[in-house]
């Protein structure tokens, strides 16, 4: 009797994950290109950086000089994190890459989980699958498995690669665990936001916002006096694993706990809701419209909520960065190595100026991500068939294209201004110098030409290779790695300037050079022009 009772209880949970394996195979098949690209990029970045650092920072003297400078400088602490003793090439590599890589594995995980849960549900494909012999949790379980598998693959290959180039085994394992546990945790969080939000877009947005908050908490905690802030961030936990420098293992507890709790919450939420349903209830809309006429009004209507979200996030970012910029003056010792590193990262001049220039460069990349997201709406409209409905009306192709491109341009300028005003305002309050507002605003706005190049490249891809539209994200990733790792790897100037963000004058420390600004605007116009011409002449859909 007792056995049959247990069976009765056990059966439902087994049924609820039935079908996970075929769904997992389906997901792997769909991601047969995406996951290998992510894995390759992340592993190559880590092993490549480690290999180069062996040549660049081989001597103990070089390492000590760097460490002394870094730990005394709150701006580097904010951007990268704390450098622990004893020093080694391996330790330097993990110091430079642990936080950055954890952010990147998290981005990968968020995109993967939402892609296989809410996006499938929104498109109605999940309904087709769920009608088969597929348990209630199977889609979620399959998405989480793919995500975890990708993270573990990255970690194993990265750690093996580092061991191969001669780094200690235990430290490499800790390094790999740092990357993959943060990634899996944010993947779990994305599973939660996928239950709450009704669309893939907002599910991604909510999870990315949480990741941004984790980054800012870690930055503020490491740079300022309130060290405890860093303990609130999964990225901060991962850095406390201290790979290669007397490893700590306790952070694995909160890291695995974070992953477990988010996944359990996602499962609970999933259990309570209908297929296609969201936590955020739908309200009735207007019977008719007075203002929604034409494609420009439509584009604004579709984008205004997203722009507001980005604006709030970037304002918070700016306020935190501005506050940290005020701390940069508290530099204790100074080392030439540090000066050089900071100069390469942010240009010559005062350290606060370099810090502002470096963070403005990051803001430029963040705003470029907004621009890419806005542009790719065009492709989504096309593949969903809504473009067909619109263009069967009296709308030219070019006006339709511009109705999306122009808000991307205008929104980017606006977001750069918001970031500049937030940073400048907070910095002015800390330093008591109102003149800083204008200087900082200049530093963020000068990023616009580089964002325009990204938009131009996006239009080019939409016009010539619409099927590969998502590749524009890859281009942005290349620019990110060039900007973040290029100086530390001591890449030649031309290589760093492949990224439009690398060619910009580093305001406010440097003088504003108009040459590169004008050149970038011209490049953007040419790319966009070719793309628009191709867009006019190709088949739609």
């Amino acid at each position: 009797m007792s056995t049959s009772a247990t069976l009765e209880q056990a059966a439902p949970s087994r049924h609820r994950v039935r079908g996970t394996r075929p769904l997992l195979r389906l997901a792997l098949r769909r991601d047969r290109l995406m996951i290998p690209i992510w894995v390759y990029a992340l592993v190559a970045a880590a092993v490549g950086t480690g290999y180069s650092f062996k040549a660049l920072y081989g001597s103990t003297a070089e390492q000590e000089q760097l460490a002394a400078g870094v730990n005394a400088n709150s701006s580097i602490l904010a951007l990268v994190g704390r450098l622990h003793e004893p020093l080694s090439v391996a330790g330097l590599t993990s110091w430079r890459l642990l936080g950055l890589g954890a952010v990147l594995t998290s981005v990968m995980s968020i995109l993967l989980v939402v892609r296989h849960t809410r996006a499938e549900e929104e498109e109605g494909r999940l309904e087709l699958l769920a009608a088969g012999s597929v348990g209630r949790f199977a889609p979620l379980a399959a998405a989480l498995s793919v995500m975890a598998l990708a993270n573990v693959t990255v970690a194993v290959l990265m750690a093996s690669g580092l061991v191969l180039i001669g780094f200690p085994t235990i430290g490499s394992i800790a390094f790999g665990l740092g990357w993959c546990t943060v990634g899996i945790g944010f993947g779990g969080l994305a599973a939660v936001t996928a239950q709450i939000a009704g669309t893939a877009r907002s599910a991604n947005g909510m999870a990315m916002a949480a990741l941004g908050a984790a980054f800012l908490l870690r930055a503020a905690g490491d740079a300022g006096t309130a060290t405890w802030l860093s303990y609130l961030s999964p990225i901060g936990w991962a850095q406390r694993l201290r790979p290669y420098t007397d490893e700590n293992w306790w952070p694995l507890l909160p890291l695995l706990g974070f992953a477990a709790v988010t996944m359990l919450v996602a499962v609970r939420l999933n259990d309570r809701r209908d297929l296609g349903g969201a936590m955020l209830a739908a309200r009735p809309g207007p019977v008719d419209s007075t203002g929604l006429t034409g494609v420009r009004a439509l584009a604004w209507r579709l984008q205004r909520a997203g722009l507001l979200g980005w604006g709030v996030a970037i304002l918070i970012w700016g306020l935190v960065i501005g506050n940290l910029a005020g701390d940069v003056g508290k530099l204790l010792g100074s080392s030439t190595q540090l000066q050089e590193l900071m100069a390469e990262l942010g240009g010559p001049g005062a350290l606060a100026d370099s810090f502002i220039a470096a963070t403005a460069g990051i803001l430029g990349l963040i705003v470029a991500a907004f621009a890419v997201q806005t542009l790719l709406r065009l492709r989504a409209e096309e593949t969903s068939g809504r473009a067909e409905l619109l263009l069967s009306g009296s709308v030219g192709r070019i006006p339709w294209l511009l109705a999306t491109v122009w808000p991307a341009v205008r929104g980017s300028a606006l977001l750069l201004a918001v970031g500049g005003l937030g940073t400048g305002g907070a910095y002015a309050l800390r330093s008591g110098d109102a003149g800083q507002i204008g200087r900082v605003l200049g530093a963020t706005l000068v990023q616009l030409p580089a964002v325009l190049v990204v938009i131009g490249a996006g239009v080019l891809v939409l016009g010539l290779l619409p099927r590969w539209a998502a590749a524009i994200w890859g281009l942005l990733g290349v620019f990110l790695l060039l900007g973040q790792l290029g100086p530390a790897l001591q890449l030649p100037g031309w290589a760093i300037r492949i990224s439009p963000f690398g060619s910009l004058p580093k305001l406010p420390g440097e003088a504003l050079a108009w040459g590169p600004v004008v050149a970038l605007v011209l490049v953007a116009l040419v790319l966009g022009g070719i793309g628009a011409a191709a867009f006019r002449h190709r088949d739609l859909g």
């Binding site: 809309g285 067909e388 263009l391 069967s392 009306g393």
Partner: protein
């Protein structure tokens, strides 16, 4: 400018695959033209070329006397289109979408819009994501039918509608026809085409295989006859144009060409006909006759 749509020898290649191969289609102004074909025959591709969304590879296509690719923007002032699979903006209400689409055409008639929303029993306050397939279709139908355009292009517009709504659609289409609008109706619901269309074009594998009025097409087909007689049946096999003859006692069933119908009826009345059912050829038979053939053949114009 007599014909609203004129397509001749239209060809479209997607890479190596040929979607349309010498397709002809003429829709006279003021007429309702049925555009029939099995899945994948090229109906939607033809329509997308007519809408200037896709570029033709070769051949001629004019819409209201103009080039659908070059003059797309101006032409679309006068066109209302309903796709077979409507996707809506998830965060816009149905009412907003109807007005938005109207603003991209020559405006919409608010009275007709209100009337159509009522007749189609559509809730315009729902958000795009909340509509079912049939209701999404209704949103696009109301937007198109209430638009002040000369030409309606409908690509399987009733897919997902219930029979009651299909009836509403037929009535609405009849009203548009009475108003003098030209309609190109792509469909594979034959009863729908039979009920509303003046002329029909049948395509297969990217070619037009038959075109004409329904009456003309019926000429080419056989009438089914089912009769019982009181006397003895004569030898009917001598009558020209009789096919599939089955005799069971006093009951007879057969198919007969138009030419043999008079002879058959004469023979039946001579044999003392008691019951008689004549079934006119349906579009379905025409359709099946074309599609059950293994290879597409050029139009012959003569009966089999």
């Amino acid at each position: 400018m007599n014909a609203a749509v004129e397509v001749a020898g239209l060809r479209k290649e997607f890479g190596r695959s040929v979607a349309l191969d010498s397709l002809d289609l003429t829709v006279e102004t003021g007429q309702t033209h049925g555009f029939l074909g099995p899945n994948g025959a090229g109906k939607s591709t033809t329509i997308r070329i007519l809408l200037g969304l896709v570029r033709k590879t070769a051949g001629a296509a004019t819409l209201l006397g103009r080039d659908p690719w070059r003059d797309a923007t101006e032409l679309h002032q006068q066109i209302a289109y309903v796709p077979g699979d409507v996707t809506l903006w998830p965060n816009l209400s149905g009412g907003e979408i109807i007005d938005l689409l109207g603003s991209l055409r020559r405006g919409i008639d608010p009275v007709r819009k209100k009337e159509l929303i009522e007749r189609f029993d559509l809730d315009p306050t729902k958000m795009g994501r909340a509509y079912s397939k049939g209701n999404r279709q209704k949103v696009a139908l109301v937007a198109a039918l209430s638009a002040n355009t000369d030409l309606l292009i409908l690509d399987e517009p009733t897919s997902g509608l219930d029979p009651l709504m299909e009836e509403v659609f037929r009535e609405a289409l009849a009203a548009e026809k009475a108003r003098g609008r030209t309609v190109l109706l792509s469909s594979h619901i034959l009863s729908e085409v039979e009920a509303v269309c003046d002329r029909v074009s049948i395509i297969r594998a990217g070619r037009t295989v038959e075109t004409g009025t329904l009456a003309e097409m019926r000429h080419l087909l056989r009438t089914s006859v089912d009769a019982t007689v009181s006397g003895d049946l004569p030898d009917l096999t001598r009558i020209a144009g009789i096919h599939d003859l089955q005799v069971e006692g006093d009951r007879l069933r057969c198919q007969v060409d138009e030419a043999g119908l008079a002879d058959l009826l004469g023979a039946l009345s001579a044999a003392g006909v008691r019951t008689l059912t004549c079934q006119p050829p349906s579009l379905e038979e025409l359709f099946l006759r074309h599609y059950s053939r293994p290879e597409p053949e050029p139009v012959t114009g003569t009966a089999v």
